[in-house]
Structure formats: structure tokens, C-alpha cells
């Protein structure tokens, strides 16, 4: 279906990534946001608060991030598309409710404008230090989807993408921005509403007596109903059966947790997205995501001018991770170089998939700014000379 034109500011804008994220959410149909302002994500909710009255949305500034991350889930079960927005310290507080959203299959979007940590760290400076936290931060086995934009335009586009994936697979989806992208101002082109594809909620089509809240469809995702519409629903974080009631048996646990995992792992090929440049015949492949996909470009160009065959694989969806593609490349290339604004997170995934076949070189950075292209260049050159 198409976006509701009422929420779409069609045209060319010069806005920052935070504001573009807000517009993406509104275009995606988000009409409920709960949040607790925190730098560098505050501008997202500031704009939400200003724009929502005009599109019929509800914004609540909550008492903290714990409350924000559960308020949105209430709104989802009442029928809204909902989102919360935060940065590292707030994200840490949200972990329990991320697990709840995964367990109850509540489609909702979390935006994390990453700043340098640990703890309160550098509030006004970028990092990519929450990339493993987003995948593993809550307890138990579950899957999520995370997209990583590298520009204000992508903050708009990928926020819509996160909402769509969240609705399609009924998982919490994450827009993993960083301070640099969030506070960077560039041209953002918002298309007409009829050119924006929106995935609607998977509403149950049958009658109340035929409804089982967690009876999955063929793609392992169950359909939803709205609380108060006359259907029996039960939403619990306890292990539950198809009826939604707690079921403390090993069999119920095994069935549910496997399905929560497999509804993503079986659909990985339709969820993962990456952009490749000159991968064919490459000796060294630079794997990037978010802002590093831009800071690596001058380094890659320079190494190519030196005569090196350098490919660039830029992750758009980081979780689920494109394991298959990295495994294939590991048998063809001589090395991977992974620059990231942390001391080694996604590089662990690349190493895991490379499985010792080729060296994987991290270009780590503790954040506070972005990489100097020269550091990435040196790593490419060193890797190209290796073996």
C-alpha cells in the first residue's frame, strides 16, 4: 500500500539526519512516539512533537527510556505504528523491553543515534559502539532486524524500511544511526506519497472464534488483531502457546523460540541488503556500514589509484548479517578490511564467516569523530601486500 499523503512532505529539503528520520517515520505511518530526549537523538522527537499534531499522531515525553520502550508496545497492540528514539545510555535501559517485543512479536521501531560510550561517554560525538548490543542486548534467543543509514536521505529511506520490515516479520526493528549522520545536514528528497511503499499490519482476516494469537502463517509469522476489537488476545513475555497463554513446557519453549529465530533466519535472503562495488576480481574487500561507508571511499579510491584491486561491500542491513555472501567472498579474496567506530564488533561476524580462510583486518576507532581515510588506506595497503 502507499503512504498516507497527509504525512508526506514531498519535495527537496535541506535537513539533518534526525529530522529526516522523523519524516521517514511519519511517511511510514508511525502515529505514536514515546521518548525521553537524549543527545544526539533529541532533534528526532523535537520534530515529532511539532509535526504530530498535524498528522493525528500522539507523542508522549515519558519519564525515562524504560517507560518509552514499553509505551510504544502498548500503542502497537492498540493498533498504531509506533517508535521510540534514543542514544546509548537510553538504549541500555531499553534492553528488557526489546526482549519483550521479540517474545510478543510486537512490530515496533527503535532508533538509536549512537554516541561514543561506554556509559554517558561523549554525548555530542559519534560512535558505532552499540552494534552488538542491538543484536544481543536482551536475554535469551531472539532475532531482530537492524538497518544502518549513512546520510540524511537514508535516515528517511531506512526508517521507512525499518517500519516495513518490522511489520512484515513482527520483530522489533532498529535504525542504527550515529551522531555524525544524525546531525549532518544534506539534501533529502521526499517522494510523493504514491511512490512510497508501506507494509501494513498483518491484520487477521477471520472471525473471532477462529483466532489464535500466535498461530503462525506459512512464513512463520502470525497475524495480529487490535486490542478491544472483540478478539481474544493475551500478550505475555512468558513462554506461550498458539493461544497466547503461558505454557511452561519444554515443548512449548522449543517450538516458540525456534519459530522466533527461524522466521528471520529462513527469510534472510529477502531481508539482507548490501551494496557492492568492484567486488568481482577484488583482492581486498572493505566491509563497511553507516558513516564508515563514506569515510572509507577516499581510502578505497586512493588504493585503486595505486593499482590495488579493492572491492567495497557496504552493509545496509547489518542484522541479520549476510553470512552467505561473506562466506562466498572468503574463498575468493585475499583479505577483508573492516573499519568501524568501535574496537571490533561487526569484524567478529566477518571473521566468523571468513572462518580462518583469509585475514580480516579491523580498523578500529573509539569514536568521538570518524576515521581518517588514511588509516583505512594503510590497512588496505597492508592487507593487499599480505601473503
Amino acid at each position: 500500500m502507499n503512504a498516507d499523503p497527509k504525512g508526506v512532505l514531498t519535495g527537496a529539503h535541506f535537513i539533518d539526519g534526525d529530522h529526516a528520520c522523523c519524516e521517514g517515520a511519519i511517511a511510514a505511518g508511525c502515529r505514536f512516539v514515546a521518548g525521553y530526549p537524549i543527545t544526539p537523538s533529541t532533534e528526532v522527537v523535537e520534530r515529532i512533537a511539532e509535526r504530530f499534531p498535524y498528522v493525528g499522531g500522539v507523542f508522549i515525553q515519558m519519564e525515562d527510556e524504560i517507560a518509552s520502550s514499553i509505551a510504544i508496545q502498548g500503542a502497537v497492540w492498540a493498533g498504531k505504528k509506533a517508535m521510540t528514539v534514543t542514544s546509548g545510555p537510553g538504549f541500555s535501559l531499553m534492553m528488557e523491553h526489546i526482549g519483550l517485543a521479540a517474545m510478543t512479536e510486537t512490530p515496533c521501531v527503535f532508533v538509536n543515534v549512537q554516541r561514543a560510550g561506554p556509559s554517558t561517554g561523549l554525548p555530542t560525538q559519534p560512535a558505532q559502539g552499540d552494534m552488538m548490543q542491538v543484536r544481543w542486548g536482551s536475554h535469551g534467543d531472539y532475532q531482530i532486524i537492524a538497518v544502518v543509514p549513512n546520510s540524511p536521505q537514508e535516515c528517511f529511506d531506512f526508517t521507512i524500511k525499518a517500519f516495513n520490515l518490522s511489520e512484515q516479520y513482527r520483530v522489533p526493528a532498529f535504525v542504527m544511526m550515529d551522531e555524525c549522520v544524525g546531525h549532518m545536514t544534506e539534501r533529502v528528497v521526499i517522494p510523493p506519497a504514491e511512490q512510497i511503499d508501506i507494509v501494513p499490519r498483518r491484520w487477521f482476516k477471520g472471525t473471532p472464534d477462529a483466532y489464535e494469537p500466535y498461530r503462525a502463517d506459512a512464513d512463520l509469522v502470525p497475524s495480529m488483531v487490535k486490542a478491544g476489537d472483540g478478539f481474544n488476545i493475551h500478550v505475555t513475555g512468558l513462554t506461550h502457546d498458539e493461544h497466547g497463554y503461558p505454557n511452561m513446557s519444554v515443548a512449548a519453549q522449543d517450538k516458540l523460540v525456534h519459530r522466533l529465530r527461524e522466521k528471520i533466519t529462513r527469510n534472510v535472503e529477502s531481508i539482507v541488503e548490501y551494496r557492492e562495488d568492484q567486488i568481482e576480481g577484488a583482492d581486498v574487500v572493505v566491509v563497511t556500514y553507516g558513516i564508515t561507508s563514506r569515510t572509507a571511499l577516499p581510502a578505497i579510491a586512493r588504493a585503486r589509484r595505486d593499482g590495488l584491486k579493492v572491492g567495497h561491500l557496504r552493509l545496509v542491513v547489518v542484522w541479520p548479517f549476510p553470512e552467505q555472501r561473506i562466506r562466498e567472498l572468503a574463498s575468493r579474496v585475499r583479505a577483508f578490511v573492516v573499519p568501524e567506530l568501535n574496537l571490533g564488533q561487526i569484524v567478529l561476524e566477518v571473521e566468523r564467516c571468513a572462518a580462518g580462510k583469509v585475514p580480516v583486518r579491523l580498523v578500529g576507532h573509539t569514536g568521538g569523530t570518524v576515521h581518517q581515510p588514511d588509516d583505512i588506506y594503510q590497512a588496505i595497503i597492508t592487507s593487499g601486500k599480505g601473503r
Binding site: 535541506f14 554525548p123 555530542t124 549532518m184 581515510p373
Partner: protein, 178 residues
């Protein structure tokens, strides 16, 4: 024009960020170029030396920060002291004549100044000093077309102040140093 790195500096409240925004908007929306603006955050944006950085290019911009600015517009002494050493050799330095006292340091730059505060006062509102500076910058630097920059001023300033700001822009554009 290849990648141009511009730094705007002044004290918080002078309209430093708005100035950077106007250049970027002019280039990327009305001149069909690429522009990336990054502004200072934190306490420095609310009082002391505050800055905005803008990159304008014909090509998509990969690296988002300025590394060696080739143009600077500085509106306070503190901003001058702090930022002017970063200016690339042969770069363009534009200062507010009465707020910045420029030392002769032997730095290889093209220095121009404009009494923008005085011009703004003549127009009746000191607040438009940054727009006078933008007009002068536009005429001298030619990073964007005049139409694009003027349009960006018109749509970026608060409603009800467009006429005054456009006058300020024109006075800056037409200014000829004595």
C-alpha cells in the same frame, strides 16, 4: 568548482549556524550541487566560539567533515583566534571589520572585511549582521549563484523578516571595500 570547504565562525547567537545552513541549502537545493553541513554542538554553540562547516561539491560528498577549509567567514575575535590558523594557504578570509582585529601574521590568505554590524544597524536591526556577511561572502566567493543564495536566505529566515533580510543580503552583496 571542486570540493570547497567553508567554515563559519562567531559567537553563539550571531546566526553562525543559520549562515552555514543558508549556503548549504543554496548549493544543494537551488543550485543542484551537493552540500554537507555539520554544526558545532555542546556548550560552544551557546556562547563562546561557535562554528558551522559546509562542504560544497559538484560530486557526491564522501568524507563529511572539513579537513582544510579554503574559505572562512569569521564574526568574532575568539573565532578568529581559534579558527583562522586552520585556513588553507591561499584561502579566502572574510571578517566582520569592527568585531575582528586581524593581525598581520604573514599567513598566505586573501583577507577581506566588511562592517556588517554597522550596515545591519543602518537597516534598523543588528540581528541581520550574519545575512549581510552572507551577501558579501556570496559576491566574493561565488560558491553558489546569487539567485540560489538569495532564495535560500528568503526561505530560511523567520516569517515576517524576509524583506529586511533580503535588504541585508543585497547590501552585503553590493558592498565594495573602501
Amino acid at each position: 568548482m571542486a570540493r570547497t570547504e567553508i567554515k563559519i565562525g562567531g559567537f553563539g547567537g550571531q546566526g553562525v549556524i543559520l549562515s552555514g545552513y543558508i549556503i548549504g541549502r543554496a548549493a544543494s537545493i537551488y543550485d543542484n550541487k551537493y552540500a554537507t553541513m555539520i554544526q558545532a554542538f555542546g556548550p560552544e554553540a551557546r556562547g563562546s566560539a561557535c562554528s558551522a562547516q559546509v562542504i560544497v561539491d559538484e560530486e557526491p560528498i564522501a568524507y563529511p567533515y572539513i579537513t582544510r577549509p579554503t574559505m572562512m567567514v569569521l564574526m568574532s575575535q575568539e573565532a578568529y583566534t581559534r579558527f583562522s590558523p586552520e585556513l588553507a594557504p591561499g584561502g579566502l578570509l572574510i571578517t566582520e571589520e569592527e568585531l575582528v582585529s586581524v593581525r598581520t601574521t604573514g599567513q598566505d590568505v586573501r583577507h577581506l572585511s566588511i562592517p556588517a554590524t554597522r550596515i545591519a544597524e543602518e537597516l534598523g536591526k543588528k540581528m541581520v549582521v550574519n545575512i549581510v556577511m552572507m551577501g558579501y561572502f556570496g559576491a566574493v566567493a561565488r560558491v553558489t549563484s546569487k539567485e540560489a543564495l538569495r532564495k535560500a536566505v528568503e526561505v530560511s529566515v523567520p516569517k515576517g523578516t524576509q524583506e529586511l533580510n533580503l535588504k541585508a543580503f543585497d547590501r552585503g552583496w553590493e558592498y565594495v571595500p573602501a
